[in-house]
């Protein structure tokens, strides 16, 4: 069953200069998909448009069959969409517990404490110091908190924008191990990533975005040797979407 479907999406910050130009793809429920592409290809803009943070100028986004095009980000959270931005993805002046309590407000009152405890069980580094300011966490721990916050509301689709950005190789490994565990729970994952090797190791399917258009949509394995990816990034190959 289709969890997320984009049809001819146009999005950006200026209607006359769209960054995302007519992108279409679907993601099946429980699938893990990575979106790759050179800098400036429009990957982050596209994922932000899906998450309600960037205006959509045309096309359609559907979540489990429901049209969610242009809905505000806070509305989308309630509909089962989780999003972890690339940077500044936690409230540093609030405690770890308060970060989770805010997200838990969307849940029925009787479920809140249980879900927060479940997140602390999943991320013991956070559970050991709930009243510490989130600003005191390391880069990897911040990504863990951001993921815990997004997972707390049990989203059907979880989108992450470059979760490895600015992290050491060791922390990148930790973050991707966590994402693997999340994926194994059946959550649909959509991942924008610059760390190609790590992303292809996690997901079954890869999309390549070049200049705001989908240049490739196929199994992640096909991109492992790097030759095809290099050609796509350099623009020598295009319009392979759906191959």
């Amino acid at each position: 069953m289709t969890a997320l479907a984009l049809t001819g999406l146009h999005a950006g910050y200026d209607r006359d200069l769209p960054i995302v130009k007519g992108v279409s793809f679907t993601v099946q429920r429980g699938e893990a998909v990575c979106i790759l592409g050179p800098n400036g290809a429009g990957k982050s803009t596209m994922i932000k448009a899906i998450a309600g943070l960037v205006p959509c100028f045309g096309g359609e986004v559907r979540l489990d069959g429901t049209d969610i095009t242009g809905l505000a980000s806070h509305v989308l959270v309630g509909k089962g969409m989780g999003f972890v931005p690339q940077m500044e993805n936690i409230f540093t002046r609030l405690t770890i517990l308060e970060n989770l309590q805010i997200a838990a407000q969307l849940l029925p009152k009787q479920d809140r404490a249980g879900r927060i405890d479940a997140m602390f069980d999943m991320f013991p580094d956070l559970g050991s110091r709930p009243r510490e300011l989130a600003g005191a966490l390391s880069g990897g721990q911040r990504q863990m908190l951001a993921a815990a916050r997004a997972l707390l509301t049990e989203p059907r689709v979880l989108m992450l924008d470059e979760p490895s950005a600015g992290l050491s190789p060791k922390l990148v490994g930790q973050v991707f191990d966590t994402l693997r565990r999340i994926s194994e729970t059946g959550v649909t994952l959509v991942l924008v990533e610059q760390n190609v090797r790590a992303a292809l190791g996690l997901t079954e399917r890869a999309l390549v975005l070049v200049d705001g258009q989908l240049a490739h949509d196929g199994p992640a394995d096909a991109l492992h040797d790097g030759r095809l990816l290099g050609e796509l990034f350099l623009g020598h190959r295009t319009a392979e979407a759906g191959s």
Partner: protein, 304 residues
């Protein structure tokens, strides 16, 4: 030096602090210096006076002073109406002016200039409706009671200090312990991320106006009760309000209150040391010193 300056400073500082709370919340959550905030104080006082007049007309007994204060039960009841009307004024102004500018993505300076223009319009409208002649909640005379150490205060003045401390405590608890307070702090730090967390930012903005305008109305009533009501009373308080908000640290409710008390005390001591004509300069000097030496204020965070 006369120790009475301490009581005088605490009394005027209470009004300044309560007014500065709304200003600091607006500044931290809506991210602009709201020049209309002073006028919310004046409008709050006049609207409360109007409601008190209506209540007095309906039941004459409500105006009879309740010992030991100079006012009757009509005033506390009128404050409820005044707060509701001032909140409606603030929400209406946000809907027709500030909200539209935010939706268009207007620069902060445009919104600040808009608030400056709206401030002048609100002030002129007050003068047009109520005239520039001072008005009073009560004309009953009160005797200041000795408090020891050469200080004296009237029951009304002590009530103002006590009520202010109570309101600040309640607001501080709301902001630090409640879900609404957490949402306000989150929006203050990063509005876009707040949406991703599932917070309805528009609702938080409305709550901010409600708290800010409500506190402004009560501060205006306090100032009107202890001195007099004038269309320019809020405008005259604007500089001390900004100085208190910045001194306490933008976004901090205890900071705004402490800043207000420091400004009030500094003004009261300045009156004794250098003369009453320098009173207004004190806020300006403190504002400049804070911006130069500790721009984040007492409780503010660097870079916040």
């Amino acid at each position: 030096m006369n120790p009475q300056a301490i009581i005088d400073g605490l009394i005027s500082g209470s009004t300044i602090g309560l007014g500065a709370i709304g200003l600091t919340l607006t500044y931290s959550i809506l991210r602009f210096a709201n020049f209309t905030h002073g006028d919310f104080l004046a409008w709050g006082a006049y609207l409360t006076l109007t409601v008190a007049g209506v209540l007095g007309g309906l039941a004459a007994g409500l105006g009879a002073p309740v010992y030991p204060f100079s006012f009757g039960w009509g005033l506390p009841l009128a404050v409820l109406g005044g707060v509701a009307l001032t909140v409606a004024l603030a929400l209406g102004l946000d809907r027709i002016l500030f909200g539209r500018l935010r939706a268009r993505g207007a620069d902060t300076i445009i919104i600040v200039m808009a608030s400056f223009g709206a401030s002048m319009a609100l002030r002129s409208l007050l003068e047009f409706i109520f005239t520039a002649k001072p008005a009073y909640f009560t004309k009953a005379l009160q005797i200041a009671n000795p408090l020891g150490l050469g200080m004296r205060a009237t029951p009304d003045q002590l009530l103002v200090i006590g009520l202010t401390l109570l309101l600040v405590l309640v607001l501080h608890l709301v902001v630090t312990r409640s879900a609404t307070g957490r949402a306000m702090r989150a929006v203050s730090e990063n509005p876009a991320l707040a949406g991703v967390y599932g917070i309805d930012v528009g609702k938080v903005v409305r709550v901010t106006w409600i708290i800010g305008a409500g506190m402004a109305c009560i501060a205006g009533v306090m100032a009107g009760l202890l001195v007099q009501i004038r269309p320019y009373m809020g405008f005259d308080l604007l500089l001390p309000l900004f100085a208190a908000a910045i001194l306490g640290g933008i976004g901090s409710i205890p900071g705004a209150m402490l800043g207000g008390l420091i400004i009030g005390l500094a003004e009261a001591f300045a009156v004794q040391i250098v003369g009453a004509e320098w009173r207004a300069a004190v806020s300006f000097v403190i504002l400049v010193l804070v911006l130069m030496l500790r721009p984040q204020g007492i409780f503010g965070q660097r870079g916040a």
